[in-house]
């Protein structure tokens, strides 16, 4: 029996006196697509920040593939095969699209802090970066500085950087936020493609995306998980409807 991709036990996070995450117990299975939904301010992004070590944990345990990761630094967690995207685009603005992706693959290919190898000579890094660029559909923007890409392109690059390292646990924080319907459809297809055979955890507000993509859904309300289940069961869950989803679920059913 392999350990779950991510296991959270009694996870808590306080900001001063206010409790944002109030005891979360959750197992993310390997290879599943797991969505975390909940009303604004429920602590979804904070939960991501705790898992990826952007914020220190107040109490509780987080295990990544059976290994305790509380107290590790973000780069140490990244090296253990967990990669995340950000709600607010977080890319290397002055570097080209290609350079952004190449930066994202260097560590995983073992080049570390090398100052004795020429980048241009690293075929595997170039090929991997180009493959990701193809997957996210930005090949024709290869040499464009990331800072002047369109919003949707920057969001695609954001996901590209996240998956480029080949991490097997991917956290996506609102990957389709701010996108038009067409852009969202393309993004969902892309996410489905690039997270094949990987564990995906995502925070998302667009219920169409959530119910279309997720194998399981967890509902986070005021820092606690009130339900974790398959999408169909979440739709019918009375507590969930009461707490948060009532209206939007009905409209989702109606459409």
């Amino acid at each position: 029996m392999t350990a779950p991709a991510i296991r959270m036990q009694g996870l808590k996070k306080n900001f001063g006196a206010s409790e944002i995450i109030r005891g979360v117990d959750l197992d993310i299975h390997r290879g599943e697509r797991h969505a975390i939904i909940g009303p604004n301010g429920a602590g979804k992004s904070t939960l991501f920040h705790l898992i990826s070590a952007r914020l220190p944990v107040t109490a509780g345990a987080i295990e990544l593939k059976g290994e305790n990761v509380v107290g590790l630094k973000p780069f140490e967690i990244a090296r253990r095969g967990l990669s995340r995207s950000f709600q607010i685009t977080n890319i290397f603005h002055n570097l080209s699209v290609f350079e952004n992706l190449r930066c994202a693959v260097l560590w995983s290919l073992g080049y570390r802090y090398s100052f004795w190898q020429r980048l241009a000579g690293l075929k595997d890094a170039r090929q991997r970066a180009e493959a990701v660029m193809e997957e996210i559909g930005l090949s024709r923007r290869r040499d464009t500085p990331a800072g002047i890409l369109s919003y949707a392109e920057q969001r695609a690059l954001e996901i590209g950087i996240t998956i480029a390292s080949g991490a097997d646990v991917i956290l996506l924080d609102e990957p389709t936020a701010g996108m038009s319907n067409t852009e969202t459809e393309e993004a969902v297809a892309m996410i489905r493609r690039v997270t094949e055979d990987k564990t995906l955890v995502m925070v998302e507000h667009d219920m169409g995306v959530v119910f279309g993509l997720a194998d399981r859904i967890s509902v986070l309300v005021y820092g606690q998980i009130i339900a974790t289940d398959a999408p169909a069961a979440i739709r019918c869950n009375a507590a969930v409807q009461e707490a948060y989803l009532g209206t939007s679920l009905h409209s989702e059913n109606a459409s």
Binding site: F75, R84, N90, I91, C103
Partner: protein, 424 residues
């Protein structure tokens, strides 16, 4: 796929530059010019090493002279340690000792300074710089007190391939070799995984952590390597002047290298080269012509920060783009026409500044012959004539600059929009 470090175009450019710097002393034979060229070569290495921090890693250091100065002192002590029985070959290799001293200083001091980035780094680098500068006065045994440490670069009985490093022009040759090697090495570094990740850390340290990189380690390594090259520059300066004083590692030297790098342009590899050459010329040439040179220098820096914050290299880059788009020919007449009133304005301002400085220095106010020579012109500063003339020139220049400059700006904006329109 052009994957070579030196593809043909770049090879030509670098070869051309090397040929130029080798040919320069054949044209400028005077001792003054050769000394000037030597100082330039040293400053080019120093400024490039500084830009490894500022431009490439995004670290604003106020204490980079520490690595330069320590490199210089260690080189000088090593030179004196070798003594008369050494050989010119050993002397030629001494800048490497300076480099290793700078590297070691980076290993020790950088461990503290690079814990944090941003303002914290700037403040700690300032503090460490002051600390080392204070040490220089506290330990005269090593730093030589106010007189500094001196030595003689001509040692040994035999020459090395005919070189003794005695004549200044031979020293220039040595500087060219080291400066060229260091520049190639620093450029090559920008093309490595560490060099690229330094850019990533500069742009977005948070994301760099999430792709697996310890940003603190990246900053630390870049500082150590930067210290190495600063130390080489320090070693060269020790050999060149045959004296090292505490001034080489104080805040003023750190400030000058920051200004050079910034004026040249931190966003381009070659920017600091331009800045180092230009500021060295200003320091030595204009510094020799007028007491007011620091004021001119300050005004020039102010002008650059306000008008071309990307430095001279960014101005060149834009012109190059215009050239490639066939728009440069359209802009050239505008540049020339604008240059005229700017020169008038400058003439007026320089007149005012020079007369003001002369007056402050107490010239032209005594009894009897009160004529003062300013730039070969005899002026009577106690009469309103010269003042009014300078003021009128400046005012005319300003008015014309505003008028013609406005039209140039319109043409400039039109060219830029054409340029960007072509691209998309």
């Amino acid at each position: 796929m052009n994957s070579a470090l030196f593809p043909r175009g770049r090879l030509l450019l670098w070869g051309g530059c090397l040929a130029l710097v080798i040919a320069l002393p054949l044209v400028f034979k005077s001792g003054f010019m050769v000394s000037l060229l030597c100082q330039m070569g040293i400053m080019v290495v120093f400024a490039l090493s500084y830009n490894m921090l500022l431009g490439q890693t995004g670290l604003l250091s106020f204490g980079h002279a520490v690595y330069y100065g320590l490199g210089a002192f260690i080189t000088m002590h090593t030179l004196n340690l070798i003594g008369k029985d050494g050989s010119p070959l050993l002397v030629a290799l001494l800048p490497l000792v300076g480099g290793l001293a700078g590297l070691l200083a980076g290993v020790v001091l950088g461990y503290v300074t690079t814990k944090k980035a941003g303002t914290t780094f700037a403040m700690i680098s300032l503090g460490i710089g002051e600390l080392v500068a204070a040490c220089a006065l506290m330990f005269p045994g090593f730093f030589g007190g106010e007189g500094g440490v001196s030595g003689n670069r001509v040692i040994g009985k035999e020459s090395f391939l005919g070189f003794t490093w005695g004549p200044q022009v031979e020293m220039y040759g040595l500087i060219v070799v080291w400066a060229f090697l260091a520049t190639v090495a620093m450029f090559a570094l920008t093309q490595t995984p560490l060099g690229r990740m330094a850019n990533a850390v500069r742009d977005n340290p948070e994301r760099a952590e999430f792709v697996g990189y310890d940003t603190q380690r990246v900053r630390y390594l870049m500082l150590i390597l930067s210290g190495f090259f600063a130390g080489i520059a320090g070693g060269l300066t020790a050999l060149n002047y045959e004296i090292v004083t505490a001034e080489t590692l104080n805040a003023h030297t750190s400030g000058v290298v920051l200004l050079m790098t910034f004026v040249g342009g931190i966003g381009f590899f070659y920017g600091p080269i331009i800045g180092a050459i230009l500021i060295t010329v200003m320091q030595i040439v204009i510094g020799g012509m007028t007491h007011a040179w620091l004021l001119y220098f300050g005004l020039f820096f102010l002008f650059m920060v306000l008008m071309a914050p990307g430095g001279i290299a960014s101005v060149i880059a834009v012109q190059h783009k215009l050239w490639a788009a066939g728009l440069f020919g359209r802009m050239l007449p505008h540049y020339l026409v604008t240059a005229l009133p700017v020169l008038v304005l400058l003439a007026g301002l320089i007149g005012l500044i020079e007369m003001g400085y002369a007056l402050l220095a107490g010239e032209g106010v005594g009894a009897g012959d009160t004529a003062t020579r300013i730039m070969t012109v005899e002026l009577h500063l106690n009469t309103p004539g010269p003042w009014l003339a300078a003021l009128a020139t400046a005012a005319l220049g300003l008015a014309l600059t505003r008028w013609i400059g406005g039209r140039t700006r319109v043409a400039w904006n039109a060219s830029l929009s054409t340029l960007h329109g072509d691209k998309t």
